[in-house]
Amino acid sequence: MASTVENPTNIPEHCPGTDSANAGKASACAGCPNQQICASGPAGPDPGIQLVKERLEQVRNKVLVLSGKGGVGKSTVTAMLSRSLAARDKDSNVAVLDIDICGPSQPRVMGVLNEQVHQSGSGWSPVYVDDNLSVMSIGFLLSSPDDAVIWRGPKKNGMIRQFLSEVDWGNLDYLLMDTPPGTSDEHLSASTYLSQAGLTGAVIVTTPQEVALLDVRKEIDFCKKVKIRVLGVVENMSIFVCPCCKRLSEIFPATTGGAKKMCEELNVPFLGSLPLDPTVARYCDEGKDFISELPNSPVVQALGEIVKKLVTVCESREE
């Protein structure tokens, strides 16, 4: 794939560029360490980009959920946002795409653990959680929960391309994409394939402690490098309320000011904080709909505000 070929540091002076029809064939290419890769790869942009664009034409907002750090609640926040978006307007259609290939969590969090996807004439049919909420994940394609997907980058890349170009979503208002931690293959593939399809932007999830913020700063740097708009940062697990004495504890202390301060430093919008509620964690494990079942939880209330802000940011772009 031409788009994945990286330029060597010592580019020949008259390098025709990896996307050119002469890639690897021009006289300047003689002796270049990447000559063979350039010459054998198809010239021009990846055909997948066009396929993704066509497939996602009916999707109004495409939002990536990112975090440099693992285990901060990307999947939980994705599930919360999607459930909340679907619940606030029954006429809107929301979908979640899980591009965490090695550790898919969406099937469990959304409560559709043992479902399967079906193939139809117009592509893969996603799994429906609700009338207006659908999910797609590699978890549906594995035969056992013990199955490990031991794949290197190019294979993951191919899977993501398939997910983006072959799932029959229908008309969608929001497509939320849950990602694995890091700034590597999955993230680059998603941003490349979505480059023509009009990616709305990214929601970044973090926890308050410095060791998480450290990786999240890298993720924001990544967004700047690949030109993804940061829609805002959500701080998860901010405060724990003891169910016995109601005392507030900082389990992951924000020694460096937490997400809010980081947002000010890096000049990105801050969407809000979600407290840590063990009931919500348990509902996630069981895949229950905590929004309708726990309307009084502080998490659900804080979530309402975040969704409101997010919708405003997404809608403002459209006009």
């Binding site: 997907v149 980058g153 890091g182 700034t183 490098k225 389990i251």
Partner: protein, 255 residues
Amino acid sequence: MLENVKHVILVLSGKGGVGKSTVSTQLALTLKEKNFKVGLLDIDLCGPSIPYLLQLEDKGVHQSDEGWVPVYTDQEQKLAVMSIGFLLNSRNDAVVWRGPKKTAMVKQFLTDVSWGELDYLLIDTPPGTSDEHISVMESLKGVKCDGAILVTTPQQVSIEDVRKEVTFCKRTKIPILGIVENMSGFVCPSCTECTNIFSKGGGEALANLAEVPFLGVLPIDPRVGALLGKACVKELPESPSAKTFNEIAEKITCT
């Protein structure tokens, strides 16, 4: 390059944010307190945490005739550390690399660092079962790898990913030294009521299911997170975490 290293131990987890780096650092510090010479290699290229956890963020790596000289945490050079964090200009810099480049970096870390004589080399990994993990496995083929410690948190969503890591170890024939359950309960500092924020017992159940040893539980203790480079077993000897780290270290060293 690893011929003078007596034992190599991997710290793995399918899930992110469960405390792989914290467990690796504290385990390295525990072994160091027991007078072993320890090396700590961080192969999480996109999110290196070890330099921060050991407060070595401003340190750099030097080149010598024998290869890269790791960063030492102490004068006696008993704990050597290597991470991509030492090679970045700014702590905000992202390493946006695809697989092949990460593979090359991991290989370099395994072959070009002059660790000297080491009793234990702990390798901290990123989450998942992908490029970095396959590369480490391949590079370690020629070296004797003692096995892997798997870290998990108790809730199902995390256990699910760690089950995949167990399969990865079985398929690549790395012995599993055991499973550690981290964040397994939070004791409220005011009423001492223990809340199982992320439920409890998942790690042990997984160990039984996978028929691998269970190494112990580590409760959520904000004090341990705030240690930054100091050994839990020395600073908080009475804490339940210190007890668990001592037990794990014992189990590793007696085999």
